[in-house]
Amino acid sequence: MTEVITNSLQLKADDLQKALALFKERLHMEVDEIGSKSAVVIQGGEALIYLTEERNAKPSTAVQLTTPDCIALYCLLKSKGIVFAQAPTYINEGMVAEFYDAAGNQFLLIEPRNYND
């Protein structure tokens, strides 16, 4: 299972099952489906992301998945077929990589780094 922290608790998707595949099959995270139109991604017993199906939903932008090791998560997702729009690169806050899921949501893998330490 991949440990991530996210800034966005709500994600809308045109196709719920397609959106869930990312969390279930690629990130190996626990997913609890509530009816046929919504689901919750769970981590450590707590709800991390609420997903709802909405026709013609606009894709979300910059959904941040915070990880302690951006390179490791990047390689894991790449090996599971995710195509990255941006390979790990350096920003003032640390390291970031970017990809889009099947529903067009933009995800940012962020590894925060403290350069003042």
Binding site: I71, A72, Y74, C75, P88, G94
Partner: protein, 288 residues
């Protein structure tokens, strides 16, 4: 315990946790970056001895004759990243040449870096620690290892830019070759201070080891690094005292001795001056 991972592109990762070892590479066809995560490793590069501590790393060019020695009561944790010469040449071309020059097939020269100690901080520190974490967990994924190595080399280029290229531009000599030669000698001076910080370091000894007169050394050192060799030594001692305060439970009197101070009260005064708190308070706030 020694872990060696040779990748299909001939890059290599060696991780070791040991109290005693002597290593001399059988072939010198690699560029090697040596990191020490705890303890100290001595490295003899072309008859010059340097000590690598956890706050610095050493870069060794392809073809360099060196050996490394670990002799410690407590285990020393090290990691070495070795890059095949062709890999570094390609990487160097990709990062330094224009697209047109690359298309014309120009260059493919093996770069020669200044073989010295570089600060082990920032992205290179994060990436090496993440790599070490994966090795400790037994991860053996070639794609992942290659990605870490690529990033570590990229990070090294960043460090080189800051520690060499920028320092070269600060030296007030006209000829590029003179600047380079002076910076190489200053790097030797800095390595001498880094490796002997716990002893009574004399300006004359530094001057003799780097083949610069005392006056020349003082002037050029200040030009390149913005501080005098003495100020550099004091900063280094304080920084290593901080490391010992954070990571060990040694009494203060022992730390004062280990970092080469003769007098505890003068150390406390300097520590307070630079960090705005006493060593005891610093340990209380940062002890891991």
């Amino acid at each position: 315990m020694r872990y060696i991972k040779e990748l299909s592109n001939r890059n290599r990762i060696v991780s070791e946790n040991t109290c005693k070892s002597f290593y001399k590479p059988s072939d010198s066809s690699h560029y090697t970056i040596k990191f020490v995560l705890s303890g100290v490793e001595k490295c003899i590069i072309n008859k010059r001895e340097i000590s690598i501590f956890p706050d610095s790393f050493a870069m060794l060019n392809t073809g360099t004759d060196y050996n490394s020695v670990i002799d410690s009561i407590t285990p020393v944790n090290t990691i070495s990243l070795s890059f095949d010469t062709n890999f570094v040449s390609d990487f160097n071309d990709a990062h330094r040449l224009t697209d047109n020059a690359l298309l014309d097939g120009k260059s493919n020269q093996s770069p020669l870096f200044i073989e010295t100690l570089y600060p082990f901080v920032g992205d290179i520190h994060y990436n090496v620690m993440n790599l070490k974490n994966q090795l400790d967990r037994g991860v053996d994924n070639e794609m992942l290892m290659n990605e870490y190595l690529y990033h570590c080399l990229l990070n090294y280029y960043g460090v080189y830019q800051k520690e060499v290229v920028q320092k070269l531009s600060k030296l007030s000599f006209t000829k590029a070759k003179t600047k380079e030669e002076i910076l190489k000698r200053l790097a030797v001076a800095k390595d001498y201070i880094n490796s002997n910080y716990d002893k009574n370091v004399l300006l004359e000894d530094i001057s003799a080891c780097c083949c610069l007169s005392v006056n020349h050394l003082l002037r050029t050192f200040k030009e390149a690094y913005g501080i005098s060799p003495y100020q550099y030594l004091m900063q280094l001692r304080i920084s290593r005292a901080k490391y010992l305060l954070k990571s060990t439970d040694y009494p203060l009197s022992e730390i004062v001795c280990l970092i080469g101070f003769e007098n505890t009260s003068s150390f406390i005064r300097l520590f307070k001056q630079t960090t705005k708190m006493t060593p005891a308070k610093f340990r209380k706030e940062h002890y891991v």
